[in-house]
C-alpha cells in the first residue's frame, strides 16, 4: 500500500508527519531544530531517507542539515554560500544599484537521480548546487550574470529564488523562478539561461508585458509532461504548453486569482490545485472561507473544495512552498497554513482533515511516498 512522510518547515522548527497508506492515523515528530526558521525540507527522489533541510535564524544565519534516516537524526553540512566571481548589483527598492547579498536558502531541490546532488535557491536570488551531499555549494552563476540581472528587484519578501524544477526527460533543462524577476530556463545544465515570461502581464510594473520583472509565486510541472507548466503569479494563474516559451491565463472562474502555491495531481496531469487568496494586501482567503480550488481540465474551470476546511472566520495564508501531493492512489494532497494547520486529503481534495492544528506558521510542506 505504501506509506507517506510529510515534511513540514515552520517559523520555529521542522516537523515530520508519517502515516500508512490509508493516511488516517498520523505520527508527529518534532520540533526538529526548535526555534529556527525552516524554510524548506525535501527528500531525495533517488533515496527517500536522504533529506535536506534549510535551517536559518536572524541571529545565527544559515545552516543546511542532512538526514540519512528519514528525519530521525540530522547532521549539519556545508553552509557557505559564496557568490561566484564579481558580486554585481540588482535594483534596490529606492532604485539604486544594490550589491547581491546572501540572506537564506528558500528552497532545496534534490537531483532526481543522485542523492548527493542537490540544488539550492537562495535570497538574494541565485542558484547553487552541491554534488557532495551538501558539504560544499557552488553557484551556477550565469543565471545571476544574465543581462537583465541588474534590473531585477526584490518582492516584498525579498529577492528570492523559490522554485526549481528539474526536467525528468532532459537532464540539461532546469526551470527556476525569482520574485520579482520572473521565470528562467536553462537547456544546458546552467551554462546559459533565458527569461521565459512571454504572455505574463503584471499591472504593477511600468511595462506590463516586460521580459523580466514579474512576481512569479510558484510554478508546477507534472513529470509525465514536462513541457506543460502551470504558474501562480502574484495575480493570475497561468499555463504554458511549450516549456515556458509562451504563457496564457487559466484563472477562469476563480474567485480571486491571487495566491501562492500551485500543485498538480500525481496521476492526472490536467488536475491542478490552487488556494485563492483575497489580494496582495489581504493575505487570507476571500470571505474568511478556506477553499482549495481544483481544475480537472488543465485550468479555466475550477471547483471549490471545502469539505473539512473552515468555512467561516478563517484568515490564514498558504505560502508558496506549503502545498504538496503524494503519489498513492487516490492521490493525497497536503497544505499548511500560517495559522499552523496542516491539512491532508486522501481523496484528491474531495475531503480534508487537519493532521495538526497548532504548529508555528507553516513555511513549507513536502509529501514523500514511501514503499
Amino acid at each position: 500500500m505504501g506509506r507517506v512522510r510529510v515534511l513540514v518547515g515552520t517559523r520555529k522548527g521542522a516537523f515530520v508527519l508519517t502515516a500508512d497508506g490509508k493516511r488516517e492515523q498520523w505520527d508527529v515528530s518534532g520540533p526538529h531544530f526548535a526555534g529556527w526558521e525552516i524554510y524548506h525540507l525535501e527528500g531525495s527522489p533517488a533515496d527517500p531517507d536522504r533529506l535536506y533541510a534549510s535551517q536559518s535564524s536572524g541571529w545565527f544565519g544559515q545552516l543546511i542539515q542532512r538526514s540519512e534516516d528519514g528525519g530521525r537524526t540530522w547532521e549539519p553540512v556545508g553552509n557557505r554560500f559564496a557568490y561566484d566571481g564579481e558580486i554585481g548589483t540588482h535594483q534596490w527598492y529606492d532604485g539604486t544599484a544594490h550589491p547581491w547579498k546572501f540572506a537564506r536558502v528558500w528552497h532545496l531541490e534534490p537531483s532526481l537521480t543522485d542523492p548527493d546532488t542537490v540544488y539550492a535557491g537562495v535570497e538574494d536570488a541565485a542558484l547553487f548546487r552541491s554534488v557532495d551531499g551538501g558539504k560544499e555549494w557552488h553557484e551556477l552563476a550565469s543565471l545571476r550574470r544574465h543581462d537583465s540581472a541588474p534590473s531585477w528587484q526584490p518582492g516584498a519578501g525579498g529577492m528570492c529564488l523559490h522554485t526549481i524544477l528539474l526536467d525528468p526527460h532532459d537532464p540539461g533543462r532546469i526551470f527556476v523562478a525569482i520574485s520579482a524577476a520572473g521565470a528562467f530556463r536553462t537547456d544546458d545544465a546552467g551554462k546559459t539561461w533565458k527569461p521565459i515570461n512571454r504572455g505574463l502581464r503584471s499591472e504593477g510594473i511600468p511595462d506590463e508585458d516586460a521580459e523580466v520583472g514579474h512576481c512569479v509565486h510558484r510554478i508546477a510541472m507534472h513529470p509525465s509532461r514536462p513541457d506543460v507548466l502551470v504558474m501562480q503569479k502574484h495575480w493570475d494563474v497561468m499555463r504554458s504548453d511549450d516549456a515556458g516559451e509562451s504563457w496564457h491565463e487559466i484563472s477562469g472562474n476563480l474567485p480571486t486569482d491571487f495566491g501562492f502555491p500551485i500543485e498538480i495531481h500525481a496521476h492526472e496531469p490536467d488536475t491542478i490545485y490552487v488556494v485563492p487568496i483575497k489580494s496582495d494586501s489581504e493575505h487570507y482567503p476571500p470571505d474568511g472561507r478556506l477553499r482549495v480550488y481544483r481544475s480537472r481540465t488543465g485550468g479555466n474551470e475550477w471547483e471549490p473544495l471545502t469539505n473539512g476546511l473552515p468555512q467561516s472566520h478563517c484568515y490564514v495564508n498558504v505560502l508558496r512552498d506549503a502545498m504538496s501531493v503524494d503519489s498513492l492512489d487516490p492521490c493525497g494532497v497536503y497544505f499548511g497554513t500560517t495559522g499552523g494547520q496542516v491539512y491532508a486529503s486522501a481523496d484528491a481534495g474531495d475531503s480534508w482533515t487537519p493532521i495538526v492544528r497548532d504548529l508555528p506558521a507553516v513555511l513549507s510542506v513536502e509529501a514523500q511516498t514511501l514503499p
Binding site: 541571529w59 545565527f60 544565519g61 545552516l63 549539519p76
Partner: protein, 98 residues
C-alpha cells in the same frame, strides 16, 4: 584555558553541554578564540561571524568581564581574566524576538 559560553541554540548545534573549554597558543583575542572554537566545532562556522569577511553577525554580541567587547577590533587582546580562564568569553544572541 579559555572558557566560552555559547548561546543555547549554538550549544545545541555543537552538542556542547555547559561551557566550551580549550587552550590556545599566544594572546587571546576575539579572532584567536573564535578560530580555535570553530576548529573544534566546525558546525559553528558561519553562525557567529561571516565565513568570508569574518565580520561578527549583526545580532551576535561578545561580552566578558561585564563589558561589551562587540565593537573591539578582532585582534585586540581580551581581558587577562579571560586569558587566564578566570572569566568566560560570552557569545550572546542579541535580545530580540520573533
Amino acid at each position: 584555558m579559555i572558557r566560552v559560553v555559547l548561546p543555547a541554540h549554538l550549544r545545541t548545534l555543537a552538542h556542547v553541554d555547559g561551557e566550551a573549554t580549550f587552550d590556545i597558543d599566544g594572546q587571546a583575542t576575539q579572532r584567536s578564540v573564535l578560530d580555535a572554537l570553530e576548529a573544534r566545532y566546525p558546525m559553528l562556522r558561519g553562525t557567529i561571524r561571516d565565513h568570508d569577511t569574518q565580520q561578527r553577525r549583526a545580532f551576535v554580541r561578545f561580552f566578558a568581564c561585564e563589558q561589551d567587547l562587540s565593537h573591539e577590533p578582532p585582534d585586540a587582546p581580551l581581558p587577562d581574566a579571560v586569558t587566564a580562564g578566570a572569566e568566560p568569553f560570552l557569545i550572546v544572541g542579541a535580545m530580540a524576538g520573533g
